[in-house]
């Protein structure tokens, strides 16, 4: 294992200190338990957004704390959900009296730990709602699975719901908008190489030199199928097919197209992927009116990418365009 780390045990703590040192103008970082909140304390009367989950997906979630997006991020150990304690502490720290929305990726651990924290917050008279993100079409959503996973689309929910909260929408509205974004987006990813969790020290899975994993999860969980390496265009077609059929997206739809890097993929490749995805959407009469390309929801050093398509309407577009000022996503101020 080759990493720019000191001790695997200190990875999350030391990275949080780095975030504090680099982005002290945007965020305050608390330790023991670790959570990151928007500079300037809770905004009275504003719905607060809290997200979190295992670390290793940076900039998710800490990079999205700031005006127009999250009020707090709670980083767990690498690829492991945080416990209820820091979630509760963060929830209390950002509550401005208008309620708190938990944005939770659909993994058993995240769901259970956020659930416990929400129960404890409720006991302290904080109104908490949750939206469970499950945009990954690679996994069958059925009684026979833990349900679809929350993957890259999470960042779209955080941005759009964040804009809703910062324009002073109430908790019902913010929750409904977050839910709508989740319901209108679909994602699927591919891995070319595995990632190495620091405390494990070994690749999280193995792929032969000519194999790729279609439908990979953001923790290196295997996906739909393992196939031989193909040209980028063929891979994009494999990812987009299930995405477009699932909602389904239709000719005339306006969408946000998001090509997300898994952490170890050169950006030049992400643009090659974007190019093909935009081409396929155009062929189907689907109009890409907003776009996002880059490493936003990563899996450590994994090479690969995911595609997310979000169906836009005027309101979602307006909220997407609204000013945002975070370490990893910023415009308009």
């Amino acid at each position: 294992m080759k990493k720019l780390i000191n001790d695997p045990k200190n990875v999350v703590d030391e990275a949080a200190r780095g975030i504090e040192a680099a982005h002290g103008d945007l965020v305050d970082v608390f330790y023991d338990p670790i959570y990151i909140v928007r500079k300037g304390g809770p905004v009275q009367g504003k719905v607060a957004l809290v997200s979190g989950g295992g670390s290793g997906h940076e900039p998710l979630h800490g990079g999205f704390v700031g005006f127009g997006m999250l009020d707090a991020a709670v980083p767990g150990p690498v690829f492991t959900s945080p416990t209820p304690d820091p979630i509760l502490a963060a929830t209390k720290a950002v509550d401005g009296g208008a309620g708190v929305l938990h944005i939770v990726k659909n993994y058993t651990g995240d769901v259970l730990n956020f659930e416990t924290a929400a129960d404890l917050a409720a006991a302290d008279d904080i109104e908490v709602r949750s939206v469970i993100i499950n945009d990954d079409v690679a996994v069958k959503d059925s009684l026979y699975t833990a349900g679809r996973r929350g993957v890259a689309g999470t960042v779209l929910v955080e941005k759009i719901a964040g804009a809703s909260a910062d324009r002073a929408d109430d908790l019902d509205t913010v929750t409904a908008i977050a839910q709508k974004v989740n319901d209108q987006m679909r994602s699927m990813g591919v891995a070319l190489t595995p990632c190495v969790v620091p405390h494990a020290g070994e690749p999280s899975f193995t792929l032969a030199d000519d194999e790729i994993e279609i439908g990979i999860g953001i923790h290196g969980e295997p996906g739909r199928e393992r196939i031989k390496l193909e040209p980028a265009d063929a891979i994009v077609d494999r990812l987009l097919g299930p995405i477009l059929e699932d909602l389904p997206f239709a000719s005339g739809d306006k969408v946000l197209l998001f090509v997300n890097g898994m952490g170890g993929t050169p950006q030049i490749e992400l643009y090659i992927v974007f190019r093909r995805a935009a081409e396929v959407l155009a062929e189907r009469g689907i109009e890409v009116t907003r776009s996002l390309v880059g490493n936003f929801v990563t899996s450590l050093e994994m090479q690969g990418a995911s595609i997310t398509v979000l169906k836009l309407d005027d309101e979602l577009t307006e909220l997407w365009d609204a000013p945002v000022q975070t370490a990893a996503l910023r415009w308009g101020r």
Binding site: P77, S81, T108, L112, T145, P222
Partner: protein, 223 residues
Amino acid sequence: MSLGIDWVTDWIRESARVVSEHRVELITLDREIGDGDHGENLDRGFSAVIQKLDGLPEGAVPSDALKLVATTLISTVGGASGPLVGTAYLKAAGAVGKEERLDGAAVVALLTAARDGVVLRGKAEPGDKTMIDAWTPAVDAAAAALADGRDEVGILEAAADAAETGAEATEPLVARKGRASYLGERAIGHRDPGSQSSALILRAAADTAAKNAGSGSDAAGAS
């Protein structure tokens, strides 16, 4: 003969030891069909428990120790197993009330409540390829052993044996809960890490019960 606080704390220490000893094995199992952190998660949790164990007040009863384990695991493990195993201990603590000594029936009640706690939080059924596949046969075997008139050690040994068999029996299964469920058919042939750690913890219960019974350290306060 019955089991008291010494057994509970011995069990906890031994659980911490075996989890640490099998950390890499559990990580490896989890890497195969999960995300490779199960050994790390439990090890972090039980290490924290050990740190706190000496702070148990004089005269603590079994439920005090079990509650300490519950809250510490919930606060330190995270992931799926933190709330699940934490809840198991929390419900186990509730099941044994303020009793100072646990007889066979109490041990079975403890195990049953623990299992029910996991089901309450995780909604898994037997055969879903989760820790429930170790716990449920363990609870059944414990109940049968009690009915057969076996003592606490015998009950816990039956539970541990059944848990081990149950963990092994997860191997051919397709998972329907947790991360392994994303794998579909590809989970076949791999043992569920949570069932394996559960079997280790139940074996620790049996081993320490035998030692406590053997050394007679519990005998002093025995009824």
